[in-house]
């Protein structure tokens, strides 16, 4: 059992974590981002000793938008469109937990059909996000076909969501009280057909990418995050599931109708880059089953949205609700003072928690593994900055 401190001590002994001033000359400091093709809106400084990374300092905050402060100037319904900005690819999930928390504060019961449609929207959005993530992972490893295929298949779900919500990426669909509007006609058949097609495509992804020997060589056994370290670092989502902990909010604290759905929590035991890249893929497979079940079990008619007052407000109090987003647990802590506007909103995102593992995992790795390790953490810089 190696703890975080032990590993740092160990790497110091190995000469990897070099902090001596006399040896600083040997190191080359590389600034990865914010204009580096492999970083996104994010910067981390690394120091390399030859080909080995000996030091990593993440520096988020380039796209800080003050979402939490902005929430204090708008009422709970007005907050929806700007709250989905941090992760426009996963916008149904990021507004899902907000809606849950607001419903708890205001005291609304969501109609049953509304709960189903909400879950469908969030599962479809999880596919959109994960496909985007997979595309970037492909191009980070130099696999350009794996960039194009998920980007193309992402359109399947974007079209479905467009039919459902009217917008391609920022849906503003999951709102306190249910969903904005009902499903269009024929949506169920179309959704079933496209999900079945996508399940066939997932097999092809496995053939060209996950079973590629070069991909296996590059990721297997790289940057292993052990079970204990994963718990200590507090990572979440696919990262913690890749380290052998079957923890999924949908199972751990089921919200809405998720306790009626039969699904398995996908996890792997190795905790290396391969596991971290494969677990989201397994999640996509499982998500397809969930969508099929949801479509089957959904009540055929009924209200989709509870009636709300123009300025919904509840008694003073606080609420914390979270959902499983594409990047892990995504929670909202809302304090209300009895007025229509929230007194304080705190967004707890999976990206930021996963980013904390980056300096720990990168030290001791080769420079060539940097993109593979970085993106396997399922990190979305804009969400972390909020």
């Amino acid at each position: 059992m190696t703890s975080v401190e032990d590993k740092f001590e160990e790497s110091k002994k190995l000469g990897l974590q070099i902090v001596k001033e006399s040896e600083e000359d040997r190191l080359m400091t590389l600034s990865v981002g914010p204009q580096h093709p492999g970083s996104g809106h994010f910067r981390f400084t690394i120091k390399v000793d030859g080909d080995y990374i000996v030091y990593c300092d993440p520096d988020p905050g380039y796209v800080h938008r003050g979402e939490e402060k902005m929430c204090e100037y708008r009422n709970v319904i007005q907050n929806i469109p700007h709250l989905e900005r941090p992760v426009i690819h996963d916008s149904s999930n990021i507004t899902y937990s907000y809606s849950l928390a607001v419903e708890e504060l205001v005291g609304i019961e969501v109609p049953r059909r509304g709960q189903f449609i909400r879950a469908i929207a969030s599962e479809l959005n999880r596919q959109v996000y994960t496909l985007y993530w997979l595309a970037i992972y492909g191009i980070f490893l130099g696999h350009s076909t794996m960039f194009m295929w998920p980007m193309g298949d992402r359109e399947l779900f974007i079209d479905l969501l467009e039919a459902l919500t009217g917008a391609r990426v920022t849906h503003a669909y999951n709102i306190p009280g249910g969903v904005r509007n009902d499903m269009p006609d024929g949506f169920k058949d179309r959704c079933m057909r496209q999900v079945r097609y996508f399940e066939k495509r997932l097999k092809e992804y496995e053939d060209i990418f996950y079973n590629n020997p070069l991909f296996r060589q590059r990721t297997e056994g790289v940057a292993v995050l052990s079970k204990e370290d994963a718990i200590k670092l507090g990572v979440t989502g696919s990262v913690v599931r890749a380290s052998g902990i079957p923890y999924d909010i949908r199972k751990a604290e089921p919200y809405d109708i998720y306790n009626e759905i039969d699904f398995k929590v996908q996890y792997m035991k190795t905790g290396d880059c391969f596991a971290r890249s494969y677990v989201p893929f397994l999640d996509m497979k499982e998500s397809c089953h969930i969508i099929e079940q949801l479509l089957d079990k959904m009540p055929q008619s009924g209200e989709v949205r509870a009636k709300l007052q123009p300025n919904p407000k509840g008694p003073p109090g606080e609420a914390y609700r979270r959902v499983e987003s594409g990047r892990g647990a995504l929670g909202y802590y809302i304090v209300s003072d009895g007025t229509p506007k929230p007194y304080r909103v705190k967004i707890s995102v999976g990206s930021f928690r996963n980013m904390l593992a980056l300096p720990y995992l990168l030290v001791g790795q080769k420079l060539a593994d940097m993109p593979a390790v970085y993106w396997s953490l399922n990190y979305w810089p804009v969400e972390a900055d909020r």
């Binding site: 130099g142 076909t145 070069l214 060539a368 993109p371």
Partner: protein, 423 residues
């Protein structure tokens, strides 16, 4: 819908066109033609048939198609034609241009995309021209603190080194710029310049990412140079000569060497991918780790020149593979022995053997180029330690296995002078 400037007048547009044509006519007649005559007067022109070529005669011959043929026939015997046009640089650059276009469309089809579509109306066939014009019109940014001389010289060195190898490749019997006895050795000697140029350029850029990329290029090319040369060595054992034309002749007398030494061909293919810095061996240009590797500080036509050089290099290595393993220009005769063109009699310059050889050589080379483009669609980038391990341990061992097979074939009397399989 087309958009017009707000103060667009059709009359002014026609007027400006007429004005342009007027000035072109004035300049051509008053300056261009006299200048051409003066130049042609001082340039020694060869005698064609029984007449001495004068500038006047030269111009009339250009206009008269039947009299152009002797000039072309004469031109084809000159060294300049060989160096600049047919087996030389223009042929290679044309193939490189087609390669770029084919690569983009081929990769697009593989990735369920369309690829270039708009430039040139038909399937984006003029995309390369558009890209070239864009690169030419861009500003070339030289980083502060860069070694200016090397920074400017390295791209030109890159292209000219690639073009120098082209001179050694025989395209058809007798159609080679430099037919030297140590052809294969010379090819490897010139290819050895490339890591040096990459390192020089990366050093001259005075930047961190190019430097890492240059070091990677050096590591990679040195690791793969040895299996590269050793895999060609088994071909030398089989053919008994270093002359590239001689190697093709040896295959014409027996069978293609790929049937005898397939492992060598495989090693040669892998090593040439590494030599070309193509995926999966594009570590020196790995964009997700080190921006664009040793090309990070390139801009404008400096980038264009390096790309041109690397595609010419692709042609060279594919052609070398064809010469060494696929029997060079060997192939069934498809051209008729004589042709009768309706208006112009092209029989003096018609050579069915050379035309047939060129056709088969080009076809095979193109097939090889496609095979070299293929990994880009199906493979991720390899890591440097795996790459070095592959180069130093696995490929060298494989080449030795095939070298012993080649020696056994020679000493067993199957190939070589008077062998069983020699026709």
């Amino acid at each position: 819908m087309a958009t017009y400037p707000q103060n667009f007048r059709f009359g002014e547009f026609v007027g400006s066109l007429i004005w342009l044509i007027f000035w072109i006519l004035i300049i051509v007649t008053l300056v261009g033609l006299p200048l051409l005559f003066i130049i042609l007067f001082y340039v020694p022109l060869p005698p064609i048939g029984d007449e001495v070529l004068t500038p006047y005669l030269f111009l009339t011959m250009i206009v008269d198609p039947s009299r152009t043929i002797p000039i072309i026939e004469h031109l084809m015997t000159t060294d300049l034609f060989r160096v600049a046009l047919f087996p030389g640089f223009t042929y290679a650059a044309l193939i490189a241009a087609v390669t770029i276009f084919v690569e983009r469309k081929f990769l697009a089809k593989m990735q369920l995309r369309i690829g270039p579509l708009y430039a040139g109306k038909i399937e984006g066939i003029l995309q390369l021209v558009a890209d070239g014009l864009k690169l030419i019109s861009k500003e070339i940014i030289v980083p502060s603190g860069a070694d200016k001389v090397l920074f400017w010289a390295a791209p030109i060195m890159f292209v000219s080194t690639a073009a120098a190898v082209v001179a050694l490749i025989p395209v058809a019997p007798g159609w080679v710029v430099a037919d030297i006895d140590v052809g294969l050795l010379a090819v490897f000697a010139i290819l050895g310049f490339f890591p040096l140029i990459a390192l020089l350029f990366s050093w001259a850029s005075n930047s961190k990412y190019p430097f890492i990329g240059g070091m990677r290029a050096l590591h990679q090319m040195i690791a793969f140079e040895i299996p590269f040369i050793l895999s060609a060595l088994s071909v030398v054992i089989l053919s008994g000569t270093l002359n590239l034309t001689g190697i093709v002749d040896a295959q014409l007398q027996s069978y293609w060497f790929i049937f005898f030494v397939p492992i060598s061909a495989f090693v040669f293919y892998i090593s040439s991918l590494a030599e070309l810095e193509r995926i999966p061996f594009d570590l020196p240009e790995a964009e997700s780790e080190i921006v664009a590797g040793w090309l990070t500080e390139t801009s404008g036509m400096i980038y264009g020149l390096i790309q041109l050089g690397s595609y010419v290099k692709t042609y060279v290595l594919a052609a070398l593979f064809v010469v060494l393993f696929l029997g060079g220009w060997a192939g069934p005769m498809v051209f008729p022995p004589e042709v009768h063109a309706p208006i112009i009699d092209i029989s003096p310059i018609y050579d069915p053997v050379a035309a047939n050889a060129t056709l088969w050589f080009t076809l095979k080379t193109f097939g090889m180029i496609l095979l070299m483009l293929l990994p880009r669609g199906i493979s991720p980038r390899i890591r440097i330690d795996i790459l070095l391990h592959t180069g130093w341990y696995k490929l060298i061992v494989l080449t030795f296995i095939n070298m012993f097979i080649a020696l056994a074939l020679i000493y067993g009397g199957i190939l070589g002078p008077g062998g069983l399989l020699v026709r």
